[in-house]
Symmetry: C2
Subunit: 332 residues, 2 copies
Amino acid sequence: MSNAGPEEFHSAPTLSAVAKLAGVSSITVSRVVRLPDLVAPETRGRVEAAMRELGYVPNQLAVALARARTRSIGVLVPTIANSIFADTVQGLSDELEPLGYAVILTQSRYDAAREDHMLSALLSRRPEAIIMVGSPATEDGARLLRRAGIPVVETWELPVAPIDAVAGFDNYEAGVAVARHLVGQGRNSLAFIGGDDPRATRRWNGFNDTAQALGARAPRRLILDRNASGSVVAHAELPGVDAVFAANDAHAIGFMSGLRKAGLLRNGPAAEQPVAVIGLGDLEMGRLIAPSLSTIRVHGDAIGRTAAKLILTRTGPRQVDLGFELVLRDSG
Amino acid sequence: MSNAGPEEFHSAPTLSAVAKLAGVSSITVSRVVRLPDLVAPETRGRVEAAMRELGYVPNQLAVALARARTRSIGVLVPTIANSIFADTVQGLSDELEPLGYAVILTQSRYDAAREDHMLSALLSRRPEAIIMVGSPATEDGARLLRRAGIPVVETWELPVAPIDAVAGFDNYEAGVAVARHLVGQGRNSLAFIGGDDPRATRRWNGFNDTAQALGARAPRRLILDRNASGSVVAHAELPGVDAVFAANDAHAIGFMSGLRKAGLLRNGPAAEQPVAVIGLGDLEMGRLIAPSLSTIRVHGDAIGRTAAKLILTRTGPRQVDLGFELVLRDSG
DNA sequence: ATTTAGAATGCTAACGTTGTCATTGGCGCC
DNA sequence: GGCGCCAATGACAACGTTAGCATTCTAAAT
């Protein structure tokens, strides 16, 4: 072991360390990084050699402080594991990373207090914009965002009174479309299974309103845990049901698994299913299983990319409806 | 519209703005935030009121610069969408967020150049540690990490010469376990389908070596795209195959879908399957479909949590093998 | 009454950059 | 030969915070 002086545990080399080694001043090094044309080729060569030798990597924190531009954006999702929101994160990250933005990712875990906390933690890092799934759960959170004075994109829904920009789709209409299809198919005893977050509730509302308007019996609603296993046994709690709208594909597939065990699933087309099942999300998997899953396809990736574009430009519409599609396969 | 003075487009309020409003100096405000006990209750009250009024949120960039602690950690994954790595990100984020760490998430998209670029972009934000899936693809990347002088956790494998810490499992042994099981079941014509990233290749090696050592015919290897659709038609390219190890569950389920169309899938137990299929990852979905998917279960969430713990403590073992389990269901 | 301790507060210099001015030479031009 | 001009480089303050050391004031101890 060499005897370790205070400098031995190297903190990262700084501009002035490079400058000293190259025999120039710090600003010259800074210019080699940012405005190489302003530096004489000979000097530039020496500085570049020094940077290589020390393994210099500019400190973006200091840059951000000096320029008042952090080149980072805050992202808040309910959860990232097994979730369709991962598509959105991927989409926005693919748009933003090439431009030098860092994505700070946080999860609210569907918890309003944690959401507020994460929002404020995010803001303390001075992101240039915030992209979140949904809208702030509390007025405190909303106020925080409004006061921040940066672009905010709410996604995965179309809020009535958005804080700023929106990239989403109409969850209510998704519920409407499913109810219309199911009742049109002659189903009469409908149910909605899934979470009770705001977006799921919007779907439920559209579903419920429409089913009743079309003369079906009042649909039932079953609130389930976030994992699909609860949905496996859900049909036991819905005696006589002949059509189910699941808040996401995972729940739908879980429910179908329960139906299969109960002998209520056919490998044939929708018309032969004792119980129709419609999901939401269009997981690739839904296309691959048998019977294949009918679902509301949403464009998670496009939502992310659109959100990114919305924070990059100040012109054009600030509320984008990416829509959805009812994809009919064999399950319902 | 109120007439907009230069202060009207408020940049976020600073410590000294709060100080001025409260009639104290900046350090006193700083102390109210960090060391409230040192400030007289009366003063503290005034400062807190001022903070509330202005909506003060401390600037973590400036804090980080002053204290040389960013409380951020860099995370590099190949991809986050539809991927089991999302579990790992969730796991580490759940450990780290409560401690005030920000997670900076980047994706390499299985591209070595992009990985190096992201690594250096990450380092420029001075994270206190880096957690990545796998090991750096290039020597440049590895050098970057070694010189950074911060904890580095490589995950999802057990590198022979780790840079620092490791939280993973033995991909080679996973291949061994699957081959052993399949050959033991009397299968003879094996194939491996999936990507050709380093981890998949390790699995293939264990699979291939073992199958041959046990006297099966030399397994075939089919490199597929990252999405599952390619795997749907894969069986056409593997005539006579009677057992398949897929690099992940999505590929496995896609492959099963192809088998089903070809009439080569039974709803009965493994012994009745013309072609056995084993996946890797243990997606919840695999348990729900019919036939249910046999798979190598890995602990993505635990990998993330362990990685987080490894960067938080300097004591204890720095290389953790989280293992895997062969979960046998109906597909093989 | 004087000292002493401590509680409360403040000043100044960092942290690693960049923006905004200097300053220094060398060159062509009338 | 003096003039301005540009190319190359540098000094200094600022960004918003904290660390380390004053300073002030009150109150108890002598």
